[in-house]
């Protein structure tokens, strides 16, 4: 039973890896082209969203977090991102509100 599963698993990764690779390349291309569109403030949003999707794909599939046997790995990733956002977000509470007073 587990053998069947592992050989199944062993065969499919390559296809999956190439699919992810293709998605990443396409994502890069879209990011590049979208930068030349007039989207105002949304340019930044689009760029960051695509970058985040790409990063998520790398983390989940290239770094095998999707198939990780433990929740701990996911927790470490989430914790790192959380504290980074904390640093960025709380610092910006200062800079974003300096002009208010």
């Amino acid at each position: 039973m587990s053998e069947h599963k592992s050989s199944d698993h062993a065969k499919s990764p390559l296809k999956m890896y190439f699919a992810v690779w293709a998605a990443l390349i396409v994502g890069t291309f879209i990011t590049y082209e979208a930068a030349f569109l007039e989207l105002g403030a949304f340019n930044s949003v689009v760029a960051l969203v695509i970058a985040s999707i790409k990063a998520t794909l790398v983390v989940l599939f290239f770094m095998h977090v999707y198939h990780a046997s433990e929740r701990l790995t996911k927790l470490v990733v989430i914790a790192a991102v959380f504290f980074l956002l904390l640093l960025l977000g709380l610092t910006m509470t200062d800079y974003a509100t300096r002009m208010w007073s």
């Binding site: 701990l72 914790a79 904390l86 709380l90 610092t91 509470t93 200062d94 974003a96 300096r98 208010w100």
Partner: protein, 549 residues
């Protein structure tokens, strides 16, 4: 009655297994590495203490008559840098943590023993750089090395000291990494998270802070060095840079750093109070989760160091509110310790005296933190001796007391010898008295308006009385610190050999010999009991159980 092991030479343990300098300098045994750290941090404690002595001598008189102003700047800077980065941050984790974490979880070593040794070497390299910076001219920016003074105006050895701190920071990161992986992966069979000693929870929380906070100050030091060496101008107002950005990045680490300094001490105190009350710690889960909460909340409050620096008042409101919330988990711990004492069978051995000292002094230090978190009060007491007193109450009255208590508690395990109890109690008392005499007057001085980092207070000569009291206290405190160093060394030769478990304490580390064999346990332990099973250890009677000596 347990049979005591014979004098050290008869039974093989981690100390006598191999002799020679290289068996120490190339060891991967976590216990030996702990002792390497013990010697190194004690050395830096002396250096930091020496600067403190000079500061207090200068402040005996209102005029600046002992040293020049520039020299005084270097004194308080180096006192701070050495004490924070080279003594307090490593202290308990690198000494007691390294020694005890594997033992408390029933493991043979940490997960990465060679990285552990690398941590010590990084610490030493960083320390040598710091020493050289101090000897080759010194650093005068304050331990906080704010921009733009540090980046543009100071002529002192900032890049070198910064590099030393950077490298020591990696030592800290690697120690944290080792602890996290060890605690997740190396627990003995049956040792679930809820059976772990709270010392382990405390070190786990500390490690989270070390891992996530230290890299930010590391990159900040890189930016300062880049600005000094390459004139990159990221913090330079002349280029449109913002010096406050430096402060944000600096304090993002340096505030959680104070929790690196106190959490391990809280872990020690928990172990001591449980043992010397002969009771399971009250509210185990609350104490465990409060450690994690302190670690997380500690990252949310850093800008309370910047209330008067020019941040937006709305941001200040947010940080002030968050600063109140970080006091909550600490208060939870104090309540739990107190509740543990209630109806406990209290023994007043030296470790417990340090724990009592911790309880009182940490509470005062913590409460004065709340004063500082209030924006209105903060405006008046920022950059005065009030702040200095506040953080010394926590770091010296709290962290160092916990460190000393832990050193006494586990000394029999580490050395296989008993320290002289009479002298130890006396030393604890001297430390307590000396500490309060040194730092309580500083609360008053700060409240009355004496600024920190001033070598000359001749504009307010009436401050002299309190300053003299503070200096007198510091000498008494110094004596109190020297005594343990003397009698610990004495005990290694002449102290009574210790039993495996002289305190009849709970915990896996007490189930093996004192001193332990190199691989800690003769057989891998299998844990089937809850933590702090003092009722079992003492039998079901609540009569006084003599502590075996």
């Amino acid at each position: 009655m347990p049979i005591p092991n014979g004098p050290q030479g008869e039974r093989e343990n981690y100390l006598n297994k191999e002799y020679g300098i290289w068996s120490w300098l190339l060891t991967t045994d976590h216990k030996r590495i702990a002792l390497l750290y013990l010697v190194s941090i004690t050395f830096f404690f002396f250096i930091g203490g020496f600067f403190a002595l000079l500061i207090r001598l200068e402040l005996l008189t209102p005029i600046g008559d002992l040293v020049q102003a520039d020299t005084y700047n270097k004194l308080f800077t180096q006192h701070g840098m050495v004490m924070v980065f080279f003594f307090l941050i490593p202290s308990i984790p690198a000494v007691l943590g390294n020694f005890l974490v594997p033992m408390m979880i029933g493991a043979k070593d940490l997960a990465f023993p060679r990285i552990n040794l690398l941590s010590w070497y990084l610490y030493i390299i960083g320390g040598i750089l710091m020493l050289h910076a101090m000897l080759a001219g010194g650093v005068d920016t304050g331990w906080t090395f704010y921009a733009p003074f540090s980046t543009n105006y100071s002529n002192s050895r900032i890049v070198e000291a910064g590099l030393g701190i950077f490298i020591a920071g990696f030592s800290s990161i690697l120690t944290g990494l080792n602890f996290v992986v060890t605690i997740h992966r190396m627990r003995a069979p049956g040792l679930t998270w809820s059976r772990l000693p709270l010392f382990i929870w405390a070190h786990y929380a500390t490690s989270i802070i070390q891992l996530l906070g230290t890299p930010v100050i590391a990159v900040t030091i890189v930016l300062v060095a880049a600005e000094r060496a390459l004139h990159l101008g990221i913090f330079d107002p002349r280029l449109g840079g913002d010096p406050l950005l430096f402060q944000h990045l600096f304090w993002f680490y340096s505030h959680p750093a104070v929790y690196i300094m106190i959490l391990p001490s809280m872990g020690v105190v928990t172990e001591i109070i449980a043992c010397f009350s002969r009771k399971r710690i009250f509210g185990y889960s609350f104490v465990a989760f409060s450690s994690i909460a302190i670690a997380v909340f500690g990252f949310l409050v850093w800008a309370h160091h910047m209330f008067v620096a020019g941040i937006s008042v709305y941001s200040a409101l947010v940080f002030s509110f968050l600063s109140y919330s970080v006091a909550l988990p600490s208060a939870v711990k104090v309540f739990n310790w107190t509740a543990t004492l209630y109806k406990g069978s209290i023994h007043y051995d030296a470790p417990m005296l340090y724990a009592f000292g911790f309880l009182g002094l940490f509470t005062i230090g913590g409460l004065t933190g709340l004063f500082l978190a209030a924006l209105g009060i903060n405006v008046h007491v920022t950059d005065t001796y009030f702040v200095v007193a506040h953080f010394h109450y926590i770091m010296v009255g709290g962290a160092v007391m916990g460190y000393l208590g832990g050193m006494h508690f586990w000394w029999p395990k580490i050395s296989g010898r008993l320290y002289p109890e009479g002298w130890a109690r006396l030393a604890a008392l001297i430390v307590f008295i000396g500490f309060n005499l040194t730092f309580f007057p500083q609360f008053i001085l700060g409240y009355l308006g004496m600024p920190r980092r001033y070598y000359d207070y001749s504009h307010m000569p009436e401050f002299q009385v309190l300053n003299v009291m503070s200096t007198a206290g510091s000498t008494i405190l110094g004596v109190g610190y020297l005594l343990p160093m003397v009698y610990f060394l004495w005990s290694m030769r002449y102290g009574k050999p210790a039993l495996d478990n002289p305190w009849n304490a709970a915990g896996l580390e007490w189930k093996t010999a004192s001193p332990p064999p190199t691989f800690n346990f003769d057989e891998e332990p299998v844990v089937t009991w809850e933590a702090y099973n003092y009722e079992e250890l003492d039998g079901s009677h609540i009569e006084e159980v003599p502590i075996a000596r």
